[in-house]
Symmetry: C2
Subunit: 119 residues, 2 copies
DNA sequence: CAGCATCCTGTGCGATACTG
DNA sequence: CAGTATCGCACAGGATGCTG
């Protein structure tokens, strides 16, 4: 039980925790995923409480990590749409087990607009 | 595609990110999981670079969250063993998809003692 | 051995004002 | 509209020394 056989290595997560472990990390990814496409100010509204500088910085991170894609429409006023990359979509699905796990904490009661199955 | 049907709610994760999103969060959980039981100083050695205060604070967090269990042997010098609770073990398994996802980033090459399957 | 107390630094992130 | 620039605070977490 203590040998290599079922040992888990977290090395692959190196660097990713810095991105998705942040306060707004998964929230942003998920919000974009839920909507398909979202503009900067739409994100500002959906993520109540985030500051423009924080959002901008997170979006840049995600872009660099190739988790999201940015489409710029050259027009006045400017229009920018963010969507998940394939990799971003896969990430969003990879965290579902985590959500299921978290939901199992005690008898969960719904406290948001989503419908949660009670254990 | 934009309706409720496949929308994901992260509310259940509320509070958990604060715990496992920290620099050493998953590392500690996983290290204990890999070994079954670990003492304080053993953790200090395995997690090269962590400071005693940080480790102590994380262990308290995890204890409060009921992710780990602490067994104290009343003797001099003291002996304390940490192990995962059932919930902690489940968490460890819930993050496996995340690790798999992270591993898929490019052609992954092994850079730690673990054996990683190449994509 | 298993921590706790103290100090210190980096930075995540909010608030606000400004710009192309 | 989609950001950037600047300021400021709270806190994570490292280093070190001490204690039961």
């Amino acid at each position: 039980m203590k040998d290599q056989s079922n040992a888990i290595c977290l090395c692959p997560l190196d660097g990713i925790i810095d991105t998705i472990g942040k306060k707004w990390g998964l929230l942003i990814i998920n919000e974009i995923g839920n909507h398909g496409k979202l503009r900067y100010n739409e994100l500002m509204s959906e993520l109540a409480g985030i500051s423009p500088s924080t959002l901008a910085s997170m979006l840049k991170d995600f872009e660099r990590e190739k988790l999201i894609e940015k489409e710029v429409f050259k027009q006045i006023p400017p229009r920018v749409e963010y969507s998940l990359s394939t990799r971003g979509r896969e990430l969003r699905e990879a965290i579902i087990p985590l959500i299921k796990w978290a939901t199992k904490k005690g008898n969960y009661t719904v406290h948001c607009s989503c419908t949660l199955v009670k254990k």
